[in-house]
Subunit: 230 residues, 2 copies
DNA sequence: TAATAAAATAATATCGATAAATAGAAAATC
DNA sequence: GATTTTCTATTTATCGATATTATTTTATTA
């Protein structure tokens, strides 16, 4: 079978499989606690075991997948209020460190990135519940870019890695439990306030706003989290 | 070939390969920046590609191995003063959070673990430079157990994972650059002071001592780090 | 009928082989 | 002589098959 590669997909089988798996877990297409059946995934993704297992193995380090005991495979990490609280606590602690340094070191390129991602994000007036899928995916992309841009100039690559992991871990909660609900909140203003403070090099304010932003999201998720998970 | 399994080795091929690789990188048996030749490792460890690559993939997430561009394999993460400074900064930030909570929540089992690992560690009067290998490996084991025990009761599993990763990352510097040097320092006293403060539930003191302990080690490594790495 | 054991089934972990890509060496060109 | 090009050798990434382990089903016994 001549494998006809989709032009948009590039890189190795491993990396595309990793992205695909991560996305399915973040969106909830593969739900919390769900068992990962290797043979089924292998068929669905049309790949062999090696790159599939390699991808899953990465997600284990990231905490999105749990490795059961030997010979008993993998499962998507379960969700719980405790886990969300921990992830939120860590995200606040680490993003504040990163943001503070980023504001300190940020150069022109950094400002450009912040302004640009902020601009793209602000173009989504209201997240139209009609044609959700496409728009949502785009919004999610820019939202992540925005948060990444803000802390991107901190010059601490290991920390950025941690922040990225924590973003994924909390993102899963938001996308699984907050997606289709009406939230009484002006996220747009929160974002622009953070961006403004950052660009004005007001580190203290920016960090405080960021903490509040992260905390508020977590609070809203906790409020709607099924009781059996609390 | 009937694969005769060594009785001491247990678990999957993957997990033993992961441990072995990690150890070789931490000790410097495979040095910083060194390329990982898959076929050579495969022969040395007598395993096949799948579990080998899976193990390497994990080490990439941990930051001990770098994945080069597609199709260009892996290399052990290089060392640099900047990286050591970052890892030190993060270790201090995160271990303090963990230690503070651990002191807050620690129960009898926690106290026992701390006392026990402290005791074992203190039995190594001076690290005899003669029969280094065996003694050093044992000391390294208890040293890690001690640090793990201190923060073990924090009830933040994700944080513990981060701390473990950071311990590895800084441990590599210590074992590669400080091992055979005489250090003008009473590490034993530092450890017992931290343990005492923790058991007395004096979180503030314990955290301060821990920060100093981590910082001091880093300072000494930086002092002897080859100039081209600074 | 409940509990246990045996057999069948399904899933995982690992292997050895193949295909694809890169890096290095030799030849050709300017 | 330096630079580019082609060919070869090495190395990586991926595959499909096999062996091992867990789970479910069926049969057996108390």
């Amino acid at each position: 079978m001549a494998h006809t590669k989709t032009p948009t997909e590039s890189g190795t089988v491993f990396s595309t499989t990793l992205s695909r798996l991560r996305k399915e877990i973040l969106t909830g297409a593969i739900g919390p606690g769900e068992k990962l059946r290797l043979d089924q995934l292998r068929t669905t993704y049309d790949v062999s075991f090696s790159p599939l297992r390699e991808a899953i193995s990465r997600l284990v380090s990231e905490g999105l997948v749990l490795q059961a005991a030997d010979q008993r495979g993998f499962q998507v990490a379960p969700v719980s209020a405790d886990n969300l609280r921990e992830v939120t606590l860590l995200r606040k602690s680490l993003e504040v460190i990163a943001l503070q340094r980023s504001i300190q070191h940020g150069d022109d390129a950094w400002e450009t990135e912040v302004v640009s991602s902020m601009h793209h994000l602000s173009k989504f007036k209201s997240r139209n519940p009609a044609k959700m899928d496409d728009i949502d995916e785009a919004w999610e992309g820019w939202h992540r870019k925005f948060h990444t841009a803000l802390i991107g100039a901190c010059r601490l690559p290991v920390l950025l890695q941690f922040c990225d992991t924590l973003y994924d871990l909390s993102d899963r909660y938001r996308r699984n439990f907050l997606q289709f609900r009406h939230v009484p909140r002006d996220v747009q203003s929160e974002h622009s306030a953070i961006a403004e403070a950052a660009l004005n090099r007001n580190a203290e304010l920016a960090c405080r706003l960021m903490e509040e932003h992260i905390e508020l999201t977590a609070t809203m998720i906790l409020a709607v989290l099924p009781t059996e998970l609390r």
